[in-house]
Each structure stands twice: as structure tokens, then as C-alpha cells.
């Protein structure tokens, strides 16, 4: 189990971004982390993966633990070594490397060449389109193919926990469906733990077991995904539905209610 215990994150020794965030991603489950832009979702992921430090941020209070071992003082490559890997938002492939080289780079933490080769073949069987493009520079792939590649690349390290940041961002609905199907299979077939950050709450709650809602650097609400789907506030602000279950325009929400705060 991946657990964040009351962590506080400060950028540049001055800017408080996360204030006492606690959450748990249970083993073999999909946990969704929802919230608006700037709520602190990505920062939470970077606090786990150790990448905060490359952006002059640090975890000043609390702890990040994987099965009881602390992660928050490790360097990013050491966190990957422990089996936790982050997939960035925005499909950040190594543009100048080929598809196959991207996957090879993802397996950097593993020394067994044979396992790396088998891993690449497994990714190709999950995403056949990548096999067709294996010798093409990743910069020339379509958006959907790049999203598949970054997920595949992360899986090359054979992680226990996958941190996924906005996998649906900027993709066509059909591609999103395909990507989410793969995420579901990460859990069902490969028994990996997934922490999924999404703005698209209905999609995320559709496949998640448990969900957290963030605002302004705090967790304001959490519960089983099924419960959250029925929560009237969630419905109104994240799913865009009103009490009667019909679609509601965001325009109709009174201005002062648009940014509703839960007091967590």
C-alpha cells in the first residue's frame, strides 16, 4: 500500500502548495485523485516520485511510505527502483528516440537484458500500433500513440505502483476509451496499484475503487468511488449533473457557488 501521511510541500522555501495531504492507494486497486486545475494533484504525484526536488520543491512535513518504507527522502531513480513510477501528463515521450528506444530507456532500472526484451514484446502485444511504429521517432507519433508509449515506457520498469497524470488530456473519446481499458487491465490482469489523477471525474470514478477530491492543496472529500459518484456536490461540480440527473450547464451554476469549498 502506498500511503501519504499528512504531507506538506513547499516550493522555493516559501510557497506552501500542499497542506497536510493524507491519502492511501491500496494494493491492486485504482485510486482516483480528482480536482480542478492548480489543486495540487500533480504536486502530490511529484512528492511521491521524488521529482519535486528537480523543481525546487520539498516535502517539509509528513511522510510518503510504500509498504512501510519511506520514499520521501529518496532520489527519483531510487523511487523507481522501489517499484513506483510516474507517468507525466502531456505525453512527454523522448521525441528524438525511436519507439523501441523509448521502451528500452524505460527499463533502465532493470539489468536483465532478456527481461527487457520480453517486456518490450509484452508492451507491443498490449499496444499493437506501437509495434508497427517501433523504428519511428517518437516525436512523429499521434497523440494517442504517444500516450500509449508513455504508459508502456513506465511499465517497462515492472512497477508495483503506477502514478498516472491526466492520461485523457487532449485525446479523442475513442482513444480515451482504449487508454482507460488498458488502465483497467493494469489492475485486473497485472495486479498493479494505480493512482490516477484526472480532471475528467466521471471517467476516473468509472474505473476507480476509491476516490479523493483535492482543492487548494488539501483533500476535501474521499470515499469509495461508487459513493462519490452519488455525492450531490461531486455530481454538480465535477460530473455536471443536477439532482434530477440531467446535464446541467456550468453557466447555470451561480457564480458564488462555482468554486465551492469543502471544509475538510
Amino acid at each position: 500500500m502506498l500511503a501519504l501521511n499528512n504531507i506538506e510541500v513547499v516550493y522555493d522555501h516559501a510557497i506552501l502548495v500542499l497542506r497536510g495531504v493524507s491519502l492511501q492507494a491500496k494494493e491492486g486497486q485504482i485510486t482516483a485523485l480528482l480536482g480542478a486545475n492548480g489543486a495540487g494533484k500533480t504536486t502530490t504525484l511529484k512528492a511521491i516520485s521524488g521529482l519535486l526536488r528537480s523543481e525546487r520543491g520539498e516535502v517539509t512535513k509528513g511522510s510518503v511510505e510504500l509498504d512501510g518504507d519511506r520514499l520521501d527522502r529518496l532520489l527519483p531513480h531510487e523511487v523507481v527502483g522501489r517499484g513506483v513510477v510516474q507517468v507525466f501528463e502531456g505525453r512527454r515521450v523522448f521525441e528524438t528516440l525511436t519507439v523501441e528506444e523509448n521502451l528500452t530507456a524505460g527499463a533502465h532500472s532493470r539489468s536483465d537484458r532478456r527481461a527487457v526484451r520480453d517486456g518490450i514484446e509484452r508492451i507491443f502485444s498490449t499496444f499493437p500500433v506501437l509495434e508497427e511504429r517501433r523504428h519511428l521517432s517518437a516525436g512523429y507519433l499521434s497523440g494517442g500513440e504517444q500516450q500509449m508509449l508513455v504508459i508502456g515506457r513506465a511499465l517497462m520498469s515492472d512497477p508495483k505502483v503506477v502514478l498516472l497524470d491526466e492520461p485523457s488530456l487532449g485525446l479523442a473519446p475513442q482513444i480515451i476509451e482504449e487508454i482507460f481499458d488498458v488502465i483497467r487491465r493494469l489492475k485486473q490482469e497485472q495486479h498493479r496499484t494505480v493512482l490516477l489523477v484526472e480532471q475528467n471525474a466521471s471517467l476516473a470514478l468509472g474505473i476507480a475503487d476509491h476516490g479523493y477530491v483535492m482543492e487548494n492543496g488539501r483533500i476535501v472529500l474521499d470515499g469509495p468511488a461508487a459513493t462519490l459518484r452519488e455525492n450531490s456536490d461531486i455530481k454538480e461540480f465535477y460530473l455536471g449533473l443536477n439532482e434530477a440527473g440531467t446535464r446541467k450547464s456550468y453557466r447555470d451554476v451561480k457564480h458564488y457557488r462555482r468554486r465551492k469549498r469543502w471544509l475538510g
Binding site: 532520489l75 531513480h77 513510477v85 510516474q86 507525466f88 528524438t96 528516440l97 528506444e101 537484458r113 520498469s157
Partner: protein
Amino acid sequence: MPDLPWRFILILSANGLLVGSMYALVALGFVLIYKATDAINFAQGEFVMFAGFLAAGASNLAGFPWWISALLALLGMVVFAFGLERVVLRPLLGRPVIAVVMATLGLGFVLRGTATLAFGGGTQTIPLPVGDEPFLLGPLILPPIELVGAAVSLGFLAAFGWFFLKSRIGVAMRAVASNQQVAMAMGINVRRYFALAWALAGVVSALGGVLWGAMLGVDNQLALVGLKVFPVMILGGLDSILGAVVGGLIVGVVESLSAGFLDPLVGGGTKDFIPYLLMIAVLMVRPEGIFGRRRIERV
């Protein structure tokens, strides 16, 4: 139209290609650092000079045979570059590029000064077992030291190219060059690859120092080889290794032709600045160089 002196052009071009491949070798050190760490090493020429002094000192002062001297220079430069990265450049990580540029510029002068202090101001020789008798190949007259220099340079460039493109370490180096933060997230220890890039730049400088030192003699002027790297780099593209090779060959040939044709007309000296004219022209027409990376744009 008067008959062009073809044989003369051929001889000049052949010599230019040989010298050019040695420029390419030195340029590789520069490209490596730029690609892997985004830093520009303005002390590359001084690295070459320093390696030359190490080799010359080992053979002239300590009396070692040439190959031990060359090995010592190689080892010394790797240790030096490695330590430099650790002590001076790592603390500058994440600072503005100008900080690194100034640090390497300053380092260049420190190296020149200390080399003169330690080894004296005179010109020293590196006694490679290469004859003076020119090698005749058809109409060509090729100095043996240039042949050896070109062979070693091209051999190293080919070996490095294979390593960079095919090995897992090479793939990781390119991943770091492509995007440092993502490379970190993929479990790549980025700092280790920075150190590796500097160590390789040390190897390149050592080879360059021994070869150029044997050809020109070792003194402070040897550092000027580093200045020739700039037109090479701009021609080929700052971040392209193939570009460094092609740029090196072009600069070598241009320099050789201008020495043969323009120097007699104006009384000499053009070979020292024509490559820079070429560089400025390229900057105006095609700033990313021949093989430099334009951002990949998807349509």
C-alpha cells in the same frame, strides 16, 4: 576560364579532410557536454592543451615511452573531467547557462596559466613513433602524422557512434539529452550520466591533445584548436554528433583551400579566419546547422 589546378586542389582537400577529422574529434567532446548537460564548455581547447602537456610532460620530464605517456594523459583527463564535474559544475546545476559558461571560460584561463607554471613556456614535443617521410598515394602527398590522426579520430568517432546509437547506456544518454526530468522519472540516474559525459569529453580531449600536440607541438597555442571547434559546431549543428563530423571535415577542407589559394594572394593569414566567416554565414542562413535538431512538429 583558366584551367583550375586540379591536382593542387585535390592535395589540399585531402589534407583538409585529414585535419578536419581531427577537428571533428575535438568537437565531439563539446557536443557531448552540450547534448547531455546543456552546458557549453568553453574550456574544450584548454582541455586539449592540458592533455597535450600531460603527455609531453610524461615523456619529456619523466622519460616514459610514448604509449605510456598517452595512457597517462588519457587517465589524467578522465580523472580531471570527472572531478571537475563533481566539484565545479554540479553545484551550478539549475543555475542560468551563463554561470556555467563563465565558469568554463575562467577554468580555461586557469588551465593555461597552471600549464605554463608547471611545464614552462617553451614548446614541447610528443614523440609519437611516426615518421616524417610523406606518404605518396597517386597524386596525393599525405603527412603520416595527419594520416594517423585521422585514422584514430575516425576510428574513435565510429566506435563512439555505435555505442551511442546501439548500446543501452547510449540510449540512456540520449534519453537524458532529450528530457532530463522524464529521464529521472524513468529511473535513470541523471547525475551519473552527466559524469559519464564529462569523462568521455576527457577521453576525447586526451586523444585530441596527443594527436594535435604531436602535430603542432605542445604549448599555450594548442588551446586555439578549441576555437576552431566553434565553426565546426555551428556548421554541423550544436547537438548533432554526425554534424560534428561533417562540420569538422568541411572546416578542414575550407581552411586548407584558403591556405593554398587565398594566402598567397593576400600574404597569408586567411586560413585562420575564413572558417569563422563561413560560421557567420551559416548562422544567418541556417541557424540550426546542417544536422542540428529542429523541433519535431507534427502535422
